[in-house]
Structures are given as C-alpha cells and as structure tokens.
Symmetry: C2
Subunit: 146 residues, 2 copies
DNA sequence: ACTTGGATTGTAACAATTACAACTTTATCA
DNA sequence: TGATAAAGTTGTAATTGTTACAATCCAAGT
C-alpha cells in the first residue's frame, strides 16, 4: 500500500468522526496545507493543487476550506482585510505580519491568558492574536540602506 | 461659539500635529465614531453621515478612514474576513464577536502580555486580540428555546 | 481676484467570495 | 450487482467590498 493511500485511510477515519467524507480534492487541500506552513491564500492553494488536478475548481477549494475550518481542522487567518489565509496548525500560537514584506510568522503564546473578567458569561470558541510590525530581516535591510 | 465649533477647533489642532487637514467630512466621520462605539462598517458610517451630508461619497469615507487609521486615531478591526470595522477607541482592549448575533464586544485585556520570546528581534507596531463565541444574551435565548 | 494644492465626488475597474445549476462520483441498499 | 439517492465537483454568473482615477470643488495664501 502506497504512502498516500495510508495517509488517505488515516485521514478518512479522522474525518469520519466529524461526518466529513474524504475526496481526492479534500485530501489534496489537506496535503497542501501540511506541506506549506506559509499561511497560503485560497489562490495559492488553488494554484498549487491545480498542478495535480487540472480540472480543479476554485469553488471546491472554498467549499473544502469552509468545511475543514468548521470541523476545526484548519484555522482561518484574517489578519488583513483583503486576504484570507489558512493554516493547518491548531496549536497555541499567534500570528505576526510584517508590514514591509508581508510575510506571516507564527509565534508561541499562552492562549489561555487571552481572557478577561469581562467575558465571564461568554462562551468562547476561538481565540486569535494578531500582531503587526517589521520583521528582523526587513529591519536589517532598512538599517543597511541608511 | 457653538459646541461643534469648539470640537472642530480642538480636533483641528490635534490633527495639525499629524499633518492632516480637518474637513467637514472628516469631522463627521470622527463624530460618528465617537457617538457609535458599535464598531461600525464603512457602510454603516456612510449611511449614518449621509443624513447630514447628502452629497457624501463612499470613497471619501474610505479615504478618511485610511488617513485616520494611518495616524493612529482609529483602529481597524478585521475580525471577520468580509467586513472591515472601525473603532475610535485605541485603549488596551480586545474584541469578541458573537457568532450568533454578530455583535462585537470590547473587553479589557493587558496587551503587554501579548508577546513572546519568538519576537525578540521584531518591531511590533500593532496588537490585536480577537475572540469568537456566543454572547450571554444569545446563550440565554438558546437555553430558553430548549 | 488668482492660483495652487488638497479634498471630494462619481464612476468604472478590480478582486475575493458566494450562489447556483449541471454534471460526476460515491454511498446505500435491495 | 445494479438502481437510486446523496454528496461532491465544476464552471459560470452574480454579489460585495474596495480601490483607481479623472473631474470638480473648495480653501488658503499671494
């Protein structure tokens, strides 16, 4: 049995619990996200998978991401208004966006701290920490050009 | 001197420092935001001010918000991908969005906690904490309808 | 009053996302 | 296995939020 088949069966079970069928397209989206931790946009995911599935429709990518996000398997990153990004990692971490080069960095943070007395009677489902600024690489570039 | 004239002069000085001229439209946007802490969308702001300025263009609202955000006078809230919201308050606080009714709540939080060893060499300009879940009002509605 | 530059306006363009209907694949069960 | 139903995919069209841009307006300073 090939590696991809094994992955396939593994994921299939995982998704079955959440009542999601695993199609080839959905597998490919998950595969792309596990191999590209760069917080890709829909367009990047679409273009990336299209190499393997030439008939792929962008609608499918949207549908798949919506379903996977609903099941808590992928994280939606809306750090910037015009570009929604996706992330497979669901661990405790925040996101930093460099305002100069646009890159998004993960950083570890204790998400449990992200609460407040004001929210005592609220049911919290999702926590996001978004920071913006300049990354070290761009900082040193700026200094060099002085 | 009328109240609005006073506010006008006050703000004018404040903006002068940042090299921004204060037009009537810009004043109205600031006025709307101080009177509506509900984190309005561009559309809400536009519709709200249109009552006073019938010739108002939505482009002006966009321009104004961009300028004010750049000057740090308003905060951009991109908690949801499809609707950018704006907030006059620049104090230390996070935002909670109710996934049921869509309302956005402020909550106090120590923004200084929002950091990480991973970001030692980063220059941080902006910090946002976005939570999602169900607000108390919707929670009690759900319980009632059981 | 004239000029200059910034602000506003309205329209058109653009990009991301969603709606929808046709079609294809997969699952179910006799 | 084969018929039927359900789910998934596809492509196009529509929708929405936002930006680009050119024309016009307005206000400040000479």
């Amino acid at each position: 049995m090939s590696l991809i088949k094994l992955l396939f069966e593994e994921l299939k079970k995982k998704l079955k619990i959440r009542n999601i069928n695993l199609s080839y397209q959905r597998l490919k989206v998950l595969e792309y996200l596990t191999q590209n931790h760069c917080h890709p946009t829909v367009d990047q995911i679409f273009t990336g998978i299209q190499k393997d599935i030439s008939t792929l429709s962008k609608t499918t990518v949207y549908n798949t991401l919506r379903i996977l996000a609903g099941a808590g398997l992928v994280r939606v990153i809306t750090i910037e208004d015009n570009e929604t990004r996706y992330d497979i990692e669901v661990e405790n971490h925040g996101h930093f966006k460099c305002e100069s080069c646009g890159a998004i960095y993960d950083f570890s943070i204790d998400i449990d701290l992200m609460t407040s007395r004001d929210l005592n009677n609220f049911k919290i489902n999702d926590k996001n920490v978004y920071l913006k600024g300049i990354c070290p690489r761009c900082l040193s570039n700026i200094n060099e050009n002085k």
